[in-house]
């Protein structure tokens, strides 16, 4: 055991882990963070706090993470390479850890072009793989990226994202291997709708024995409507939505679509549970956090084990 992370403990116990997400508000409203986090309470092992998600300015993940931590819950703070250079990253990591935050996710970040500041200069001083490596060395070697010794090293349980669906597909396992090599502890995948392809990817992962070195949490997103499915298919980069998904949603009335979406998410979880190497689920109910408990329960992932 490297860290105090609750997530690490769950995973170490061999139980399926469950994480979810909480997007911080676009304003100084701590109560909103609390509201969202409260919805997830008891049903998840960690709550991702996004970092200027889709390049829209929001409350910093560090600050929101602190709020959640203060609620006695377990935040997983996200950090994107887009907005900070290595100095800012490291100081924030130390700061977060000082508040008891012990789990984080290293990401490249969506390009600024998609957000509300498309004119912004993307920093990209280091990339997500280099960030993983940096955080690992801060923890294990207790040195800053520049080489200096850290007095009071932050012991972070290090996560990263993986998109099994982006192309070139053949690189997707290899890139995971690079992250593993850099020192990643757990992976949250992109939302999975194309289960066949996910299985294919997982096979690549297990063939290389990567599942022995990293915990894969499968990304699950319930579709709220057929419109959302179409939007994700056509507009969100790196998303793989099979036509069958859209067809199935089209097959029910508009009122029934949310329920159908949840049903599909649960079915996915059931199927993914069978896949070798999957150690948990990351449930991203985008602006629909209230449905997470229902999904967790109906998917047989409740109650969460105590560690």
């Amino acid at each position: 055991m490297n860290t105090e992370s609750r997530l690490e403990k769950i995973l170490a116990s061999g139980e399926l882990a469950v994480t979810s997400e909480c997007g911080p508000p676009r304003g100084a409203r701590p109560e909103k963070v609390r509201e969202k986090a409260a919805l997830l309470k008891d049903h998840v092992d960690g709550i991702n706090v996004t970092d200027n998600q889709t390049a829209m300015v929001r409350m910093s993940s560090f600050a929101a993470g602190v709020i959640i931590k203060q609620m006695g819950l377990d935040p997983i703070i996200q950090m994107v390479a887009r907005d900070r250079n290595r100095l800012a990253m490291q100081s924030d990591i130390i700061g977060a850890y000082a508040f008891g935050i012990n789990t984080m996710l290293c990401l490249s970040g969506d390009h600024a072009k998609f957000g509300d500041h498309p004119m912004a200069q993307g920093v990209f001083d280091i990339d997500s793989v280099q960030m993983i490596n940096m955080v690992r060395r801060m923890r294990d070697e207790e040195v800053f990226q520049g080489g200096a010794k850290i007095d009071g090293a932050p012991k972070m349980f290090i996560g990263a994202a993986a998109n099994p669906f982006a192309d070139p597909f053949e690189l997707r396992v290899m890139r995971l291997a690079k992250k593993v090599k850099a020192g990643v502890d757990f992976i949250q995948t992109q939302c999975i709708f194309n289960l066949d392809k996910f299985e294919q990817w997982m096979k690549g992962v297990t063939d290389r024995g990567l599942d022995e070195k990293v915990h894969i949490l499968a990304g699950i997103t319930p579709m709220k409507s057929v419109g959302m499915a179409r939007y994700m298919k056509n507009k969100v980069p790196g998303m793989d939505i099979p036509d069958a998904v859209i067809k199935r949603l089209e097959g029910v009335s508009k009122e029934q679509q949310p329920e159908e979406g949840i049903k599909m998410a649960i079915e996915s979880i059931e199927r993914i549970k069978q896949i070798k190497g999957v150690h948990g689920f990351h449930i991203m109910a985008i602006e629909w956090e209230e449905k997470v408990p229902q999904i967790v329960e109906q998917a047989g992932l409740y109650p969460r084990p105590k560690v």
Partner: protein
């Protein structure tokens, strides 16, 4: 080569509004090649400025000259015979040229007529694309001859990110994913195994993070 694009003419007009005698200076190097500030563009801009002043009911005196290279003081020296006779200089060279002129002729204002864009290569007639960021520490040798700094929208050294779709960059379907290209090229070269080499965090100093770059060749200087 350095690429540039002409500034919107109204902006140029605004710069020179107070002046009656203008020295309009082109450059026969990069900006000629990228058709932004060569002899031809000098002529066109001069003509445009004349048309503008006609509209204002004013006259403007424009002397057109195109130097071999505006970023060399010796060439810039060729402006000396004209400089006292003009109120302002408009340069159609890249920022290097503009600054060379500004550095040489302290009393005459010099205005840029082009926006210097990037170091690019020509993809065909009238098309230029960014190919180099001048990062000062070239990695092309290990990335299959395709630069992740200049051509990946996120400068990823360990790409591709998860946004690639159909082999194109998430920011624009017309932009190739640099890492897809790197990967294809590595495969062609039989160097796939190099892909999993971790590329360490970059030292940005030679590329400008270390302050304004300067090269001194002691054997020549």
């Amino acid at each position: 080569m350095i690429t540039a694009e002409q500034k919107p003419i109204p902006e140029i007009i605004q710069y020179i509004a107070p002046y009656g005698k203008i020295l309009l200076v082109g450059c026969n190097e990069c900006v000629t090649v990228c058709a932004a500030g060569g002899r031809k563009e000098v002529g066109l801009l001069a003509s445009a400025l004349h048309l503008n002043s006609m509209k204002q009911g004013k006259t403007i005196d424009i002397k057109e000259i195109t130097l071999e290279r505006q970023c060399d003081p010796e060439y810039v020296e060729e402006l000396t015979p004209y400089i006292d006779g003009v109120d302002a200089v408009v340069s159609m060279a890249c920022g290097c040229g503009v600054q060379t002129i500004a550095g040489r002729y302290k009393k005459t204002p010099v205005f840029p007529a082009v926006n210097t864009r990037f170091m690019g290569a020509s993809l065909g007639q009238g098309v230029w694309a960014e190919r180099c960021k001048g990062c000062g520490d070239c990695v092309l040798g290990i990335t299959g001859g395709i630069c992740p700094v200049a051509r990946c929208s996120k400068h990823l050294f360990n790409g591709p990110c998860g946004g690639t779709s159909n082999g194109q960059c998430e920011i624009d379907p017309d932009v190739d994913c640099a890492w897809r290209l790197i990967w294809e090229r590595l495969k062609e070269l039989g160097m796939e195994d190099r892909y999993e080499d971790l590329m360490n965090a970059k030292d940005w100093r030679p590329g400008g993070a270390g302050g304004p770059g300067k090269i001194i060749r002691e054997d020549l200087a």
